[in-house]
Amino acid sequence: MRLLLNGAELQLPDGSSVADALAAIGAPVAGVAVAVDDHVVPRAEWSGCRLRDGATVEVLTAVQGG
């Protein structure tokens, strides 16, 4: 299946979870948050949350600002 992750296309096996997508991009485990199709996915649900084909995934972290 195909995702749009942080604005870039990402191919993953069908049935992949949020945790799989994070592993695929080498995201750190701590200090990041995930929204799928504009909905925040709590950390505890990353493994259980299956992604649909065409989902928009945003992975955010803290950067310098403010």
Binding site: N6, G7, I25, G26, A27, P28, A30, G31, V32, A33, V34, A35, D38, V40, P42, R43, E58, V59, L60, T61, A62, V63, Q64, G65, G66
Partner: protein
């Protein structure tokens, strides 16, 4: 000052200088400035994880034992701000948020309607909300009534360094507020920070004035001292202003 802590939402800070991390040329410069400032609470922004997967600023704050305060910088609507705050809570495991909802890119002034809406929603969701607001006493009162843990009026627009353009409004906000008033945005130099404290603010939040100074570390130290000096002056009680001179030495022959 250990005997005069800043208390926000039941949490004590010995430093009354809240720093931002934006604008520093690199993390080494930022680190020296943060240490020199003595800050214990420092803002960060939420953005896409870059391709390198770095969380450098968080690692730095953790190492320095400085509490990260996520902001909602860049949000234009209440819905965006609530989503960003929710992501920050997940990423940083904190329910504290510096709420920013700006109206346009040119002035970066807060949008009061969206700001109040966002504040109400976030308080309902259990956040500790520190809103960046206009220097409007009425809006400040409404934000406090909505349950915000502090109100953070601007001195002048973000990044301008124009100082406190309406000191009287800041005094009016301080006079009415039952929560800490934190002067946020517009500070250009140390005297601006001292003035904020003299006007009765509980703390000062600044970033650009330090991070874009020619010597950020030294300016951070200047801000630390200015905030402490201003706080002492506010508590000491200044003399009334007089029209005519009043000799401080005894008259000749007495």
């Amino acid at each position: 000052m250990a005997d005069d802590p800043l208390v926000i939402a039941g949490r004590s800070f010995s430093s009354r200088l809240v720093m931002g991390t934006g604008g520093a040329s690199n993390l080494a410069v930022l680190e020296r400035a943060l240490v020199a400032s003595g800050t214990e609470l420092t803002t960060v922004a939420m953005r896409r994880l870059d391709a390198g997967g770095g969380t450098g600023v968080l690692d730095l704050l953790r190492r320095l034992d400085i509490e990260p305060l996520p902001n909602t910088a860049g949000c234009r609507t209440a819905a965006e701000a609530v989503r960003t705050a929710s992501l920050a809570r997940e990423a940083l495991d904190t329910a504290w948020v510096k709420l920013e909802v700006i109206a346009d890119e040119r002035t970066l002034l807060p949008d009061p309607v969206e700001l109040l809406d966002a504040a109400e929603q976030l308080v309902d969701l259990g956040f500790t909300v520190l809103p960046y607001t206009n220097d409007d006493p009425v809006l400040a009162r409404k934000l406090e009534q909505a349950g915000c843990a502090a109100v953070m009026p601007l001195g002048s627009p973000i990044g301008t360094g124009l100082g406190i353009r309406n000191p009287h409004n800041i005094e009016l906000i301080v006079a009415e507020a039952g929560v800490p008033v934190i002067l946020d945005a517009g500070i250009g130099t140390a005297s601006d920070a001292a003035l904020a404290m003299e006007l009765g603010c509980a703390a000062v939040l600044l970033a650009t004035a330090v991070t874009r100074a020619q010597d950020p570390e030294r300016m951070a130290q200047a801000m630390r001292l200015a905030v402490e000096g201003g706080r002492h002056a506010a508590l000491a009680g200044r003399i009334p202003r007089r029209h005519w001179a009043r000799a401080s030495s005894p008259p000749p022959g007495s």
